[in-house]
């Protein structure tokens, strides 16, 4: 093995070739891949990139074997179609978290481009500094010449023995419509290919080149294809050739992220909200469970969260489990809360100590779950007076929560009422949690609460 020669002191060693010496080319005679690899090497030489500043990410299939041909650059051989996604991860991290120095190049075939279409589209949308060279020889070569999403119409392949009846994808159009910044299409024998690849690599954002090639083993013999016929194939498919988009003004993702997102101030560690050494609330001498049900949109779950906040500030441990239909904006809304001076184990509630029923939607859900049948005689049930249904177990109290507080404050009103009546949390902590969320409703809410407490 001979070493790369050193000629320039100012810019590190001059690199004459990034390939291994005397490579054993793994490709068939006449295969376009060999030409493309040579052109990539020439492009790298023309750019004189430092070897450690280049990452070649290869896909699966014949073209994926190219990583072994390169000596003096980082190579990452990946899985089918995913090469672009792994490269995107490398480039994202490099552009935001590291020195923004890497040039990441993806080598992918037409099969890989099809199975990994989404990764190409998203890399183009993000505008990451990744150059994708799509080596399109119209077939899956390594597995025996099956047709791909890039196979032209009428092409005979192993899986289209009577000629392909599905028109191929125009990847360049697709990527341009995904905001790809730099897009071109050419053939492997193009004399300008080295220059095109160099321009694509040098471009500081997403660049894609589709390179039409011959698969001499499969595509050529079955379709009387020759190098000169490649342009005709492109024309038949309506594929535009040459440099189709030579960059845009859009900054790459890394720059946008650094400028727009990473400008947030650094956060200090969170402070605990627990007040230490508090006497425990009088109503709590062990774990207490509370279940509240109402209708979606009536702030049931956030009211329960407010109670939990007050409980935490009172030095208690809490858990809160919410449930609602998956669409979130309709039907019932439910919270299950445990308040406890000790660590809480099981977070479910079989038979609540307190049950709050605020709407018919909520009542129906309780019936469905069989909760009402399981109630013990000690359960305190607080039910809105508007719900005219019998509750046969527990100590039932009916109050005009909805009428007094209005539908969106009925939940918090009911919970404050119950917490105060039963001394579940420290009253100062309760005020501290509830008052900030009331805002303009505070006078009305406090008046209604006084009225309710007066009655009880």
């Amino acid at each position: 093995m001979t070493r790369t020669s050193v000629t320039s002191e100012s810019f590190g060693p001059q690199v004459n070739s990034y390939l291994i010496d005397n490579p054993l080319w793994p490709f068939c005679k006449g295969c376009g891949h060999t030409m493309v690899i040579r052109r990539i090497n020439e492009a790298l030489v023309s750019l004189q990139l430092q070897p450690q500043d280049v990452a070649l990410v290869t896909d699966i299939g014949c073209i994926g074997m190219s990583d072994g041909l390169f000596r003096a650059i980082h190579t990452v051989h990946t899985t089918h179609g995913r090469s672009t996604a792994f490269a995107t991860g490398i480039a994202l991290a490099d552009s935001v978290l590291a020195e923004k120095k890497l040039k990441t190049i993806v080598l992918i075939g037409d099969g890989g481009a099809m199975i990994g279409l989404q990764h190409l589209v998203h890399a183009a949308m993000l505008n990451v500094d990744v150059t994708v060279l799509i080596c399109n020889n119209f077939v899956y070569g390594m597995t025996g010449g099956q047709g791909s999403g890039f196979t032209p119409e009428c092409f005979v392949t192993a899986t289209t023995p009577d000629g392909n009846i599905v028109p191929p994808v125009d990847i360049c159009e697709m990527l341009m419509s995904s905001n790809a910044a730099f897009v071109g299409r050419t053939i492997a024998t193009d004399k300008e290919l080295t220059s095109l690849i160099a321009q694509a690599i040098a471009y500081p954002g997403f660049a894609a080149l589709e390179i039409l090639e011959l698969c001499t083993e499969f595509a050529v013999p079955q379709n009387e294809l020759t190098g000169t016929k490649l342009l005709a194939v492109a024309e038949q498919n309506g594929w535009s050739m040459g440099l189709l988009r030579a960059g845009t003004d859009r900054p790459p993702f890394g720059k946008k992220y650094l400028d727009n997102i990473l400008t947030k101030p650094t956060q200090s560690p969170r402070k605990s909200a627990v007040r230490k050494n508090l006497p425990k609330p009088m109503g709590i001498d062990g774990p207490v469970s509370l279940m509240i049900v109402g209708s979606a949109g009536e702030k049931v779950q956030s009211a329960a969260a407010t109670l939990c906040q007050a409980a935490v500030a009172s030095g208690l441990r809490v858990t809160q489990k919410n449930d609602n239909p998956v669409t979130q904006g309709s039907g019932f809304s439910l919270s299950e809360v445990w308040l406890s001076p000790e660590e809480i184990g099981f977070t479910g509630i079989d038979r609540p100590d307190y049950l709050v029923i605020l709407s018919t939607d909520g009542y129906r859900e309780l019936v469905e779950r069989g909760v009402l049948l399981r109630l013990g005689n000690t359960t305190k049930v607080y039910i809105d007076e508007s719900i005219d249904v019998p509750v046969e177990h527990g100590k039932v109290k009916r109050h005009a929560y909805r009428k007094l507080f209005g539908p969106t404050l009925a939940a918090v009103g009911a919970l404050v009422h119950i917490a105060r009546l039963n001394r579940l949390v420290d009253s100062e902590a309760l005020d501290g949690a509830v008052q900030p969320r009331l805002k303009n409703d505070a006078p009305k809410f406090n008046q209604a609460m006084e009225q309710l407490m007066g009655k009880s």
Partner: protein, 373 residues
């Protein structure tokens, strides 16, 4: 709390895709990571999400993603890639009821074996399983340490009932633990030059259990990474003896140090005839049940397993000493983890408490404990 743990562990990169019940982690990372100068972004699917994370980790940064069963199914291709390329990665897998899209807001512990046995070859993937919000924090940090030291993917296996239940946590009492960083190559080596023994090779080790020292893509040592069978230099090989060594090494590097990669909580009674084993959300009900049963006179021990894999064999052996029966509590139909540990329990009678669709209650566990005594 997993996001908090990840940030404390030094996670710098997160890519995610929304899925109930794991979305909370995704959202927290989007909200919190930028203020810690990290990168959090939305991927167009779970396959991209995990691939972005692996790419970022190869570049040298601690990375994490989060998903649930349906997303996990898409990620397993790249979990194998991370294993094969010895890339550190943490995946939060928040279980929901399956199969398929199952029940998005229903809890389950049905992904235990799906997560563990996701590789061709059945390689041991470390799985840490928290039981509450605080442990989500602690075990996520531990997961980063394991991933970094071992150079492999590590799973934090949570479930809907833990992820979507709000729980009080005293931040001031959280341990100030941090995660270890992967050892990195620092000595200068002329780029792309391998010595005769290829000690600069991307995957060089001497003994099978040794962990190759990490070099980032973009660093001063050439990286030759590949998901295909390879030698210690990362060169594609078919079945040379060295390549077979590399494949064995991928398992050996964890098993050789398995005793150091253990996390359990023991609540043992030396006179116990019954041992309850559980993990994750079910262990909370099991612990309640054990406490209640003891009050009514039952002699019972409790073992909560936080490190499901590698199986903490020594801890199992210790906990089962003198015990006549073992009860394994888990929220799945057939006792998935029970099927794994049964073989380590010898002649001891083993039975399961299993259920799907709702959390197992302390009463259900108690009836088995007290029925068994």
């Amino acid at each position: 709390m997993m996001a908090e743990g990840a940030i404390q562990a030094g996670c710098a990169f997160f890519a995610g895709y929304p899925i109930t019940p794991a979305t909370g982690i995704f959202k927290a990372m989007i909200d919190e990571l930028p203020s810690r100068k990290g990168l959090a972004l939305s991927a167009p699917d779970e396959i991209s999400a995990i691939a972005y994370c692996i790419g970022a980790s190869m570049r040298g940064f601690k990375s994490m993603t989060a998903t649930s069963g349906p997303g996990w199914a898409l990620m397993t291709e790249s979990v194998q890639y991370a294993l094969m390329t010895e890339t550190p990665l943490v995946i939060a897998l928040v279980q929901r009821l399956g199969p398929s899209t199952g029940g998005a807001t229903q809890g389950s512990q049905g992904d235990v074996l799906l997560a563990e046995y996701c590789t061709s070859g059945g390689y041991t993937i470390p799985i840490l399983c928290p039981t509450n919000a605080r442990e989500c924090f602690e075990l996520t940090i531990l997961a980063f340490t394991w991933a970094e030291i071992l150079r492999m993917p590590v799973i934090v296996l949570s479930d809907k009932e833990i992820a979507m239940t709000t729980e009080s946590v005293d931040y001031e009492s959280l341990p100030q633990m941090t995660s270890q960083d992967r050892p990195k190559n620092s000595a200068f080596v002329e780029f792309g030059e391998y010595d005769k023994e290829r000690k600069n090779g991307t995957y060089y080790f001497h003994a099978l259990h040794e962990i190759p020292i990490f070099s980032p893509v973009g660093g001063s040592r050439k990286v030759t990474a590949t998901g295909s069978a390879h030698d210690k230099a990362g060169t594609l090989q078919k079945n040379s003896p060295e390549t077979i060594d590399v494949l064995a090494h991928l398992e050996e590097k964890l098993l050789w140090r398995a005793d150091d990669f253990v996390a359990v909580k023991q609540d043992l009674d030396p006179a116990a005839e019954t041992l309850v084993i559980s993990y994750g959300i079910s262990s909370r009900a099991a612990q309640d049940a054990v406490r209640q049963s003891r009050k009514s006179g039952a002699k019972v021990s409790m073992l909560t397993i936080q490190s499901l894999f590698p199986v903490p064999r020594k801890k199992l052996r210790q906990a089962t000493e003198g015990v006549k029966r073992v009860i394994v509590v888990e929220e799945n139909l057939r006792g998935l983890y029970r099927s794994v540990i049964e073989r380590y329990l010898g002649p001891i009678q083993v039975r399961g408490v299993n259920k799907i669709g709702a959390m197992i209650t302390p009463a259900e566990i108690r009836s088995v404990i007290e029925g068994a005594v």
